[in-house]
């Protein structure tokens, strides 16, 4: 298959006015976003100008730094684009991080302005929120680097890694999307189920759609009914963009309504299980595509027609190679700020920590699983080591092992019953909900190998004696 999508011209260029030229341009009445109600380009430009005015009045300037602690919302999109128009570096903080995690992130990043929202967010399967955003200046410092966006990743050494991308890299990723066969075309719609704060929803959803003239729709809720209603609400060919869970959820509907406008579903992250993929395509009669990417790079490889499953074709401009069973991506500079770990990026190659292979004959790559302790929880990457270190550092915890088997599961030695009782509460302060163990076993002791190493085999761990009730 060739990569001859609708963009056949010269690659997109990152100019000082890239936000206006590549993202905001278009007819005033052109509906570009749908966050509960349609947002046309005039309204979006107005919302961006409004936030830009606020951020400038707080002193944010070119080369400055701002952190967005906003849930998926029009306010989030407007602040992000406003900060980029100013030429500031934007740190994206997941709104689900606890206050403890957010404080640590702000200590590390030292942004000059923080934008957050007022009041308590409503719960309940929301794909987006209507929030009142408030920007506050703080004693921060200008951006240390020329990157446009920084994101924190769950880190194997406990604290988060700081992943950074330049305008040029973001623009190059948008350009890649335009050159991949099977992406949504101008005039079409995307119903986005993945978070617009993380790379798939941010670049593959928000930025690509704004650039390409594709209407980006967020469903009212992340329920089957609301998602299908969002698809049915428009006549233009529609692509569902989500993670494997969303496919499994939608595929569980035995009698979905006829949706002639549904063109394709594409998922990022791990591969959808074969039987779920078959069920989905049988029930909806559309193609199930697959993408592979990383926060550090964005989209790396795709199989949008489901014809190479489980393999993928590297995206235009991406070079992948296999070394000792690991997939490496050619990247001219390290995507990490303040990290000198040579096992992650060396000599122009990013180590994905994904096991995989590259077929020299076809160029197709196949991802075979993680080589480290990172797991995916609903498409969000969580490093089990971070969870384990956090748990082990809590008062009264003498030892801890965290494993994953369809959910994060922790085993801890906590002799003091009072400390044990307080453990879940302590974790809730320090870890965002998606990082917390789904079940916490308090045990007498942790099983060890003959040489004294902690055993991480879940079957063995489950045989550990529970701590007797006192």
């Amino acid at each position: 298959m060739s990569n001859t999508g609708w963009a056949t011209g010269a690659p997109l260029a990152a100019t000082p006015d890239w936000v206006d030229e590549l993202l905001l341009a278009g007819e005033d009445r052109d509906v570009c976003l749908h966050f509960g109600s349609p947002v046309d380009r005039a309204a979006l430009r107005h919302a961006v100008a409004d936030r830009e005015d606020t951020l400038r009045r707080l002193g944010l300037a070119r080369g400055g730094s701002v952190a967005l602690r906003l849930p998926p919302s029009l306010a989030y999109a407007a602040n992000l684009l406003a900060a980029w128009r100013i030429g500031a570096q934007v740190a994206l903080l997941d709104h689900r991080l606890t206050a403890y995690e957010t404080d640590r992130a702000l200590d590390r990043l030292q942004p000059q302005v923080v934008v957050s929202c007022t009041g308590t967010l409503p719960g309940g399967l929301r794909a987006f929120y209507e929030v009142a955003d408030v920007a506050e200046a703080r004693e921060g410092r200008p951006a240390d680097t020329g990157h446009a966006v920084v994101q924190l990743s769950s880190g194997s050494t406990g604290p988060s890694k700081v992943i950074a991308r330049t305008v040029e890299q973001l623009v190059a990723e948008i350009d890649r999307y335009t050159r991949i066969d099977g992406v949504p075309l101008p005039g079409e719609r995307v119903v986005l189920l993945a978070s617009v704060v993380h790379v798939l929803g941010l670049v593959g959803g928000l930025l690509y759609c704004l650039h390409a003239g594709v209407e980006l729709v967020l469903p009212e809720r992340l329920t089957v009914d609301a998602v299908l209603r969002a698809v049915a609400a428009g006549e233009a060919p529609t692509t569902l963009l989500g993670v494997p869970f969303h496919t499994e959820l939608l595929a569980s509907n035995p009698n979905p309504p006829k949706l002639p406008q549904l063109k394709r579903m594409t998922t990022g992250g791990e591969l959808v299980r074969a039987e779920v993929a078959q069920r989905f395509t049988d029930r909806y009669g559309v193609v199930l595509g697959n993408m592979y990417g990383m926060t550090e790079v964005g989209v790396i490889a795709t199989d949008l027609f489901g014809e190479h499953r489980p393999s993928l074709l590297p995206a235009p401009g991406i070079t992948v190679r296999e070394q000792d069973g690991e997939l490496l991506i050619a990247t001219p500079a390290s995507p990490y700020i303040g990290l000198s770990d040579p096992t992650r990026w060396v000599d122009g190659w990013l180590h994905t920590k994904d096991a995989g292979r590259v077929d020299p004959a076809t160029g197709l790559m196949t991802v075979l699983g993680r080589l480290d302790s990172q797991v995916s929880v609903g498409g969000l990457k969580v490093d089990l080591t971070e969870v384990e270190h956090t748990l082990a550092a809590l008062p009264g915890v003498e030892g801890a092992v965290v494993v994953f088997d369809s959910g994060i599961e922790a085993f801890a030695v906590v002799p003091d019953p009072a400390a044990a009782a307080a453990l879940e509460g302590e974790l809730a302060v320090r870890l965002a909900p998606y990082k917390r163990p789904r079940v916490l076993h308090i045990v007498e002791q942790l099983p060890r190998t003959a040489t004294g190493k902690l055993v991480r085999d879940r079957a063995v761990l489950r045989t550990a004696d529970p701590r007797p009730a006192s």
């Binding site: 719960g123 089957v224 009914d225």
Partner: protein
Amino acid sequence: MDAPVAAAGSLGVPRRREPASPDRAEVVAMLAGYGERSPEQVRERIDSLELAWLVHQVEQRHGRMLDLDDDVLMRMTTVTGAVEALAEVLAEPAGD
């Protein structure tokens, strides 16, 4: 000709009896359907993905959309909370 089996509703349409609200074992069984797990692999705490899954399974089983506001959904973050909240929601007449 046989008489209608079920008592007619106010519009004279035989009403299908709705299944009882799911008990704990049934909620666990529905959750286990996600990822094709065994009931033993289902944890007490329900995350947002499982909640979306559970709501859909209940809607399928009862043949009706559930009117779940934020407060109800916030209570459904554990198996126990979900059983209680579903009992209350399903006791209400269907909105259609």
